[in-house]
Symmetry: C2
Subunit: 206 residues, 2 copies
């Protein structure tokens, strides 16, 4: 008979061991691809044994992204409550391009309603937007405390504004696929105005 | 012997016919998937016959995205020179979710250096950023002319700012995978400051 400390606990520990191995494999791989085999070899299991713990490859990859979020939270703080944590996590992401690539691959695939990670991504976006909305509302009444280890804001210029606009076009598409009520064009028109006004106020030459 | 008006011209016309059929198939499909077979049936060809004109499925899909850009340019104007065209195109994209999904799928896959659309995406991003930079620089010295059919900017609020920040995180990742010199954290820190300052200036309550 199963008990909380029996097979279930063992399976959960094995699951976490696989996810830790997967994160380590991606960290070591740089921008090279990571296969299920790479992960399986690190924990001395077969590919099928690894997949058995998650159901299929898509579910394993979604669980790796979830474990990545948890690891980042443990290391840098909670981006949902700490305005600096999100930026520290983004800065650290640059050291693991394989995980960034995995994120964009799975985020694109998960826009499909039947994808195993569809609900997780939809929920992640909703929570992330809600907590950012609260942080921003909060920041309007008081200056957020500066964190010594926050990345310093770079000087803003037209090249920066162009990168941001292009990024917003691409990123809003992902949110809109999950939530068709988002008015992409209105959001982007407002952003363009805000960016141009910020550059004007910053006293950029032509 | 081949002449410019011989087999090459015929092949080029057939290629365009396939791309037109593909765009029509995506427009009709809404958010449902479009298969190579759907496209082939519209032009009375076999799947292999269609793929023969492009080399493989990835190259066909990249060509569909290129044809989509050309069709949007013909209909709404050139986003590279007309500040309103980009917004009109984004607004129209909402009527073809299948093509938006195709774009994010292929953009994610094309971050891989060996992908057939890798160079096209890298080039598209460079050109799009360059022309937006020029438009923004231009906009700093004179107000851009208003277009009667430009989507009206929505009122800005913290929820909008949160959508934009999350979108910029996702979208910058795609640019950074193609161009690792981009400092994502610095770009986002500057964006956060600009958004919060814009909301303050707009007189939002906390």
């Amino acid at each position: 008979m199963r008990t909380p400390r029996g097979p279930y606990a063992k399976s959960s520990a094995k699951r976490q061991q696989i996810l830790d191995a997967a994160l380590a494999a991606y960290a070591d791989a740089g921008s090279r691809k990571v296969s299920v085999r790479d992960i399986a070899q690190r924990v001395g299991m077969t590919d099928a044994g690894v997949l058995h713990h998650f159901g299929n490859r898509e579910a394993l990859l979604a669980a790796v992204l979830e474990a990545r979020d948890a690891a980042a939270r443990a290391k840098y703080g909670d981006a949902h409550t700490d305005p600096g944590a999100g930026l520290r996590i983004v800065a650290d992401n640059a050291s693991t391009p394989g995980l960034v690539k995995l994120f964009v691959d799975v985020a694109a695939a998960a826009a499909e309603p039947g994808h195993p990670a569809h609900d997780w991504f939809a929920d992640r976006y909703t929570k992330y937007r809600d907590s950012l909305t609260a942080q921003i509302s909060d920041g309007l009444t008081r200056r957020p405390e500066a964190h010594a280890d926050d990345p310093a804001p770079s000087h803003i210029d037209p090249e920066w504004a162009a990168r941001i606009l292009v990024a917003a076009v691409d990123g809003l598409q992902l949110q809109w696929l999950l939530e068709p009520g988002i008015d992409m064009a209105a959001d982007l028109a407002a952003l363009r105005n805000v960016l141009v006004n910020a550059l004007r106020a910053d006293g950029q030459p032509d």
